[in-house]
């Protein structure tokens, strides 16, 4: 399992990369491994306003369909539409292939997220 430095992590296994007010969000390598082969990613619309903890998309694998919960609230500024045709990109590299970019409403949302070290420990307990 790979945990990337320089990112923040949620308990729902999303990673967050912060650049100014924009948060880039994807799922962790641990998450893609648990899901297995991903066959479909449902993305939100650009300009959607989504609150922290709300569902922003659905990831469907050969094992299950799982809702994805937004770790930070705000407005969708960009979606990775390459995933619509090639959802397996997430399996290939979960950190390279982000899902959405959010313009954060409240940067305080970030305070509940984990450091790479804390996330690694969190995952080892999930095993």
């Amino acid at each position: 399992m790979k945990v990337m430095e320089g990112l923040l992590y949620s308990e729902d296994h999303e990673w967050v990369k912060v650049e100014g007010k924009v948060a880039t969000i994807g799922i962790s390598d641990f998450a893609q491994h648990q899901l297995g082969d991903i066959v479909f990613v449902e993305l939100p619309e650009v300009a959607d306003e989504i609150a922290k903890g709300e569902v922003f998309g659905v990831i469907e694998s050969v094992k299950a369909a799982s809702d994805s919960y937004l770790p930070v609230g705000g407005k969708v500024v960009e979606v990775n539409s390459a995933l619509e045709d090639e959802p397996e990109l997430i399996n290939q590299d979960a950190y390279e292939n982000w899902i959405v970019k959010i313009e954060m409403e409240d940067e305080g949302d970030l305070s509940g997220l984990m450091s790479p070290e804390a996330y690694e420990e969190f995952c080892s307990k999930e095993e």
Partner: protein, 487 residues
């Protein structure tokens, strides 16, 4: 002929027939004089043209590729694939029961009505409930019936604001689907690691909008939910009702009753617990039983005892209405009734005891080679978490399941419940002998050895099946919905 893979159209030869009808002695009329032109086909329907022997060989060959409880061990967790005694079939085929018309006058079908009445009563008794409907056609249909009854209960009281149903995240997928279908808002709460209800999360989820809670006991991990008394109290104190998903009823017959645990309404899967045909289309039956305070909401008609015998009671003004045509899957009801009567009270109890014993025996044998997340006494089924191996080996539960096919078994349920990541859910049922269990255990252990010695063998399994490893990703992404473009 194991590799026979034709569709019936490929066997077709123009003009070939099984039977040719003799010349009719009634005057023939042209079809145009009988049916308006707008409804007449312009071209002949492309039906297969085959002889009788072609049809028989075609379907016999296809059926021989099938796997069922009559062929071998079928430990599909949560599905209770027990053997279906053939006496059930004998009874259901009796002309006096099978050759009835649903609109026959009640006085001419007293025997059938009595059977349905007795089955309603038996199911109520087994579940600790008061009244039963036999209408629902399957488990999920029973769930919907039950939740609509809960809705009717709240609405009659004027509690229209109660719009939330709670389910644990380990519940069967049909539970949240039922909640949504019934027009309720779903509140999903996390389970504890052992699959039990997280009481703190439950308390947090309860508010004035609570309509009810859906739960199985034993839980999806095959463990008895010991907090059920406290859970029931919490839900009832807050004005909600408890729904029991009867999927795991095979663990507790004659031992404990959902009604006594505090549940208000439940469904049975007659096709699981009560040995009616299962898989391949059934049909199923999801009878629903309720406590007295919900009886008036049951779908109508309910079979009742009248002064002169038995009859259908349609006079139920608070009923949620009909949930299925006529009276449910009647042929299946006959089989379940036969099962209950042939087993008797002690027999049903013994069935549950043996189901639990078989599961515990297998669990203890397999925990040497497979991860067992909850090492405690299980009920009728148990969940393993993949092989006891370094994850880097890349051998996953899917590979184990595929390899089991080569050993001639239907694999257990895999990747459910979702809270166990590499789940292998095994439910042996009570109808399997010690020898059958030992053979399966030996196969599972052999696969564990193979995983260490020759992992590639597992990665490419199965080898001995008509269809080899299926590309599930491709199948999910590129739907092919017809066999060929034109035939």
């Amino acid at each position: 002929m194991r590799n026979y893979d034709k569709v019936i159209y490929e066997v077709s030869k123009k003009g070939r027939r099984a039977y040719r009808l003799p010349e009719s002695d009634v005057e023939m009329k042209p079809v145009e004089s009988l049916i308006p032109e707008a409804f007449l086909r312009k071209e002949e329907a492309p039906l297969p043209e085959v002889s009788e022997v072609d049809v028989i060989r075609h379907y016999t060959n296809l059926s021989n590729k099938n796997y069922g409880v009559d062929t071998g061990f079928y430990p599909l967790g949560s599905c209770t694939m027990k053997y279906n005694p053939k006496i059930n079939e004998d009874v259901a085929a009796m002309p006096g029961l099978s050759q009835l018309h649903p609109y026959q006058p009640e006085k001419t079908i007293q025997g059938s009505l009595e059977i349905m009445y007795e089955l309603q009563k038996a199911l109520a008794e087994i579940g600790g409930m008061d009244e039963t409907t036999l209408q629902p056609a399957a488990g999920a249909h029973g769930e919907l019936t039950g939740i609509l009854i809960i809705k009717a209960y709240h609405q009659l009281k004027g509690d229209f604001h109660r719009n939330k149903i709670i389910t644990p995240d380990s519940s069967h997928g049909t539970n949240p689907a039922t909640v949504a279908t019934a027009g309720y808002e779903l509140v999903e709460i996390p389970s504890n690691a052992d699959g039990s209800v997280n009481l703190e999360a439950l308390k947090e989820a309860i508010d004035e909008n609570l309509a009810g809670l859906m739960l199985t006991n034993p839980s999806t991990l095959g463990l008895f939910e010991t907090q059920i008394g406290e859970i029931a109290k919490l839900i009832h104190e807050n004005g909600g009702l408890l729904y029991y998903d009867g999927a795991n009823m095979n663990a507790i017959m004659g031992k404990s009753r959902p009604g006594d645990m505090g549940f208000d309404v439940m469904h049975y899967n007659l096709h699981k617990t009560f040995s009616t045909p299962h898989g391949g289309g059934g049909p199923g039956s999801g009878a629903v039983a309720v406590k007295q305070h919900l009886a008036k909401f049951l779908p109508k008609p309910v079979v009742v005892k009248t002064g002169e015998g038995y009859g259908f009671d349609y006079d139920r003004p608070e009923s949620i209405g009909k949930i299925k045509g006529f009276y449910g899957n009647y042929g299946i009801l006959l089989r379940a009734y036969t099962y209950i009567k042939t087993m008797g009270r002690d027999g049903l109890k013994y069935a549950s005891e043996t189901a639990v014993l078989n599961a515990n025996y297998m669990m203890h044998q397999l925990k040497e080679d497979y991860k067992l997340p909850m090492n405690q006494v299980c009920k009728h089924e148990f969940v393993l978490d993949g092989l006891k191996m370094d994850e880097l080996s890349g051998i996953r539960t899917l590979d184990v399941a595929k390899r089991l096919l080569d050993y001639g078994y239907h694999p257990p349920t895999v990747y459910f419940p979702l809270i166990v990541h590499e789940a292998i859910m095994i439910e042996p049922t009570e109808t399997e002998s010690r020898e059958t269990l030992d053979e399966f255990i030996a196969a599972m252990k052999a696969i564990a050895r193979e995983a260490k010695e020759d992992p590639e063998l597992l990665k490419n399994a199965p080898y001995n099946t008509p269809v080899r490893r299926v590309n599930e990703v491709l199948a999910a992404k590129q739907l092919v919905l017809k066999y060929k473009d034109s035939l």
